[in-house]
């Protein structure tokens, strides 16, 4: 591998410079500079030190931490049976279920919030004894819905890679099923569980749209407080002080999470024999749980979008093309905006992520680490901090992007790039160096090796990454809600947020319809790719 990298650099220094510079400049201008600006604003102001004596701040911080912790524990416990089913059993529809479980992960936060609003409406949970609306239970349920998929993936695929003969050995030594799980399986899964937990905790810690819409006015986390100060009150000093706290906390979490993921890295890979066929009760109980947790919110959302007060019809969907006074443009126009932005964001993410992957895999060690870490940061750093940073950093020459309409897709591309990186880098790394060497010995120059071996092998991974970047962009809410607005450039998630936040049956119906459309767009883009790639054996990185 060293040999071809060296030849590549020597022969085409200029091209290589471009490959390094594009992601570096992109990251520098649109991510690192805003982060630096937020830090400097936060540290220079007095607000940060005042926070230490602010009881409200401590209450917010405490709530942020404990809701994230509770969501994590709940998700892990609920995901274990499903992970076991996917990892160890053969059954009809296994692949479909696997693909379906990725849908919530890319579902826009506002759509998830919408789905739970739909459930509360449908089953009368808005008040009374079983009130869910504006309770912490609503937040936890939504977070479980979101993150179940991550745990299923991370733990499930790790579990799949574990040699089941070890469990069989334990059985033969006299351990009952419970003992096997407690003393053998659980400890062996620990690295994957820890890794999944750290990711879920991070996501819940930085959850924004869900908390804003489901938590009600009294439940504030760091994220919603930053937004409230910056966007509602224009109090940039307080917002940046909070953003500093958020940044530091998130960085620490990212570091911990990276550690845990690296520990998970060196896992055993054993070729397993045929899997046992799942028995009906096992399958039924599991599917019931998974469908209840993942399927129900989606189903109810669809049902609500069709309900009109007197029977079912498509009239809510028809109404999407009409402008309501609440929004500057019709919901349909907002959808078109979102799709357009998503295409631009995807193209950017593929370009930046593709180049960065090359640097991570073939670049010098230091450069490789820098890109690997640097470009993953936007995924870790919350979207809210990202949007806030862009808001305060890119408003003065030479970096005045306030009136630049493509700032939104740029922000989305920053969030999408890590997905491209996470799918492409492992695939590139998995290419046996000997396959490259074999190609070279058959006379292929380094560029021919890239074109004929690496690209065909990694191309599908690039497509998977692109699909995720697209889905993420279509549904992006946190960062977009900070960025300068052109009324006619409203995105669909923002439109949905406003529709959901306003009472009234007509608007609610439209909101449900818009949420369903967004769900279908994001879900389909990932499902199509996911279905194809799992057939063709693309290995997706876990997030």
């Amino acid at each position: 591998m060293d040999t071809d990298r060296l030849t590549l650099i020597k022969g085409h220094r200029l091209v290589w410079c471009g490959v390094v510079l594009v992601p570096a400049v992109f990251l520098g201008v649109f991510f690192l500079w805003p982060v630096v600006k937020v830090l400097s604003l936060g540290f220079t102001g007095r607000r940060l030190w005042e926070l230490l004596h602010d009881a409200v701040f401590w209450r917010v911080l405490w709530f942020t931490v404990w809701q994230a912790a509770a969501s994590t524990v709940l998700t892990l416990v609920l995901a274990l049976p499903g992970a076991h089913l996917l990892a160890r059993y053969q059954f009809r529809g296994r692949r479909l279920l696997r693909a379906l479980t990725t849908v919530p992960f890319v579902m826009p936060t506002v759509v998830v919030a919408g789905a739970f609003v739909a459930i509360f409406d449908r089953f009368g949970l808005n008040d009374g004894l079983f009130r869910m609306r504006h309770t912490v239970w609503a937040l936890l349920a939504a977070h479980v819905f979101f993150n179940l998929a991550i745990v299923l993936r991370v733990v499930g695929s790790y579990w799949e890679g574990l040699d089941s003969r070890v469990e069989e050995q334990a059985r033969l030594l006299g351990a009952g099923p419970g003992q096997v799980f407690r003393w053998v399986t659980l400890p062996r899964l620990a690295p994957a569980l820890a890794s999944a937990a750290s990711v879920v905790f991070l996501f819940c810690f930085t959850s924004f749209g869900v908390i804003l819409l489901l938590g009600g006015p009294t439940r504030a986390t760091l994220e919603t407080e930053i937004w409230r100060h910056a966007v509602w009150r224009g109090d940039m000093a307080s917002a940046s002080a909070l953003a500093v706290v958020q940044l530091v906390a998130v960085m620490a979490l990212v570091v911990v999470s990276n550690r845990l993921q690296r520990r998970r890295g060196g896992r055993e890979q054993t070729n397993l024999g045929p899997r046992p066929v799942a028995s009906w009760p096992l399958l039924g109980a599991n599917l019931g749980l998974l469908l209840g947790a993942i399927g129900l919110p989606m189903l109810v959302l669809v049902e609500r979008s069709l309900a009109t007060g007197h029977g079912y019809s498509l009239s809510n969907y028809g109404a999407l093309t009409e402008r309501v006074s609440l929004l500057p443009v019709s919901a349909a126009t907002a959808l078109v905006n979102s799709l357009l932005f998503a295409m631009v964001a995807t193209a950017l993410a593929v370009l930046v992520g593709g180049f960065a992957s090359l640097v991570v895999v073939y670049g010098r060690r230091g450069l490789s680490h820098f890109f690997d870490f640097g470009l993953m940061l936007p995924l870790g750093v919350s979207a809210v901090t990202l949007g806030f940073g862009m808001l305060v950093a890119l408003d003065a020459p030479p970096l005045d992007f306030r009136s630049w309409r493509w700032l939104v897709p740029v922000a989305h591309a920053l969030i999408g790039t890590p997905f491209v990186l996470r799918t492409v880098v492992p695939t590139l790394r998995r290419i046996d160096p000997r396959v490259r060497e074999a190609a070279m010995l058959l006379g292929a120059s380094p560029w021919q090796v890239g074109r004929l071996v690496d690209f065909p092998l990694a191309g599908r991974a690039l497509a998977v990454g692109a699909a995720f970047a697209f889905a993420v962009s279509v549904g992006e809410f946190g960062a977009t809600s900070f960025l300068p607005r052109h009324p006619d450039r409203l995105t669909a998630p923002l439109a949905l947020f406003r529709l959901l936040g306003t009472p009234g049956d007509v608007l609610r119906g439209q909101a449900m319809a818009l949420a369903v459309v967004l769900m279908v767009v994001t879900g389909l883009s990932v499902l199509v790719i996911e279905g194809r790639s799992s057939r063709q054996g693309v290995v997706r990185g876990d997030f």
Binding site: T3, M440, L441
Partner: protein, 328 residues
């Protein structure tokens, strides 16, 4: 044709190859034999151009290869784990080198068909390489590396991942094929059986150096060092005391090591007494392990003897070969 002069390779502080001189003649099959970690794979990769020597030079005839990148050397290589292109069909794998060389589709197809016949895989062209068995994958890898008519074919333990029976069959197939094609080849293995079956010449490696190089019969008869003797399967290595004595009597003039080749050691009516501690019947003969004065010895005999029997050993003088204890 291929000549290495004082080639050394370092990984960091670690000298993996140390001043290696080696040559391969046209049409010759040279086998590099040695235990794992002796540097034989590194030597092969250096010849291929996949590692860069820190010292020394490589030549092909009069052409200096030292700085030439791998893809311009015109050498073929077959890897232990096949390294097939997973995204291409069997035929496209085999045709890869031809396409790179700019062959037209029709010519490619003809050549691929030829090669498939040569390795006995007619009808496999359209298959996915993931669907192949180990032996089939091995044949595809061989066809692929032979396709561009390499001036030198290198085989890095190509049969190590296969089971015994398949390996024995493929070794003889491979030897025949290489001879028929008049293909110059370097074959790396740690299995002395394979080495003797294939080699025109054997080079035994030890500690990053060629410890012994010669025709198989020469190397077998006189391995010269203990490490070489062990690499090629000799087991009766005895230490002599200051007067040159060991359990078999006086076999030398001074302290040192001596090899008593099992092919010269036999059971006799009288001689040095030994007790049978192991007996394995194999291919019409008994592979015996006997113990004399605390020393274990191997020999093969036609007589059936039981465990614990007392036997007498005799040997021919030319089966006794002095050894140096380490490679210097």
């Amino acid at each position: 044709m291929l000549r290495l002069e004082g080639v050394s390779v370092c990984f960091g502080q670690n000298h993996v190859l140390n001043q290696v001189d080696l040559s391969v003649a046209a049409g010759e099959v040279l086998v590099l034999l040695g235990p794992s970690g002796c540097g034989k794979s590194t030597l092969l990769r250096t010849i291929a151009g996949l590692e860069t020597p820190s010292e020394g030079q490589l030549f092909w005839g009069a052409q200096d290869l030292t700085g030439l990148p791998a893809h311009q050397r015109g050498f073929g290589m077959m890897f232990q784990d096949h390294a097939l292109f997973g995204h291409l069909s069997v035929a496209d794998n085999v045709a890869f080198g031809l396409r790179i060389a700019g062959w037209g589709a029709e010519l490619c197809q003809k050549k691929v068909a030829e090669l498939m016949a040569l390795v006995g895989l007619v009808g496999f062209e359209g298959r996915s390489v993931d669907a192949l068995s180990g032996g089939e994958a091995q044949r595809v890898a061989l066809a692929r590396s032979l396709a561009p008519d390499p001036r030198l074919l290198m085989l890095d333990e190509p049969l190590a991942s296969l089971d015994r029976a398949l390996r024995d069959r493929l070794v003889s197939d491979l030897g025949q094929l290489l001879r028929e094609l008049g293909q110059s080849a370097i074959y790396v293995t740690h299995d002395h059986g394979e080495a003797f079956a294939l080699a025109d010449r054997i080079a035994v490696m030890d500690g990053g150096q060629i410890a012994r190089c010669g025709r198989p019969v020469e190397v077998w008869a006189d391995p010269r060092t203990e490490a070489v003797a062990r690499s090629i399967g000799h087991q009766n290595i005895l230490s002599l005391d200051d007067q040159g004595h060991c359990v078999l009597g006086r076999l030398g003039g001074q302290a040192g090591l001596v090899l008593v080749r099992s092919d010269g050691l036999r059971l006799a009516p009288t001689g040095v007494a030994a007790r049978v501690v192991g007996s394995v019947f194999s291919q019409g003969r008994y592979d015996l392990q006997v113990e004399a004065g605390g020393q274990l010895l191997q020999l093969s005999a036609v007589e059936s003897v039981g465990l614990g029997d007392l036997v007498y050993l005799a040997w021919s003088d030319d089966a006794v070969v002095p050894l140096r204890s380490s490679s210097t």
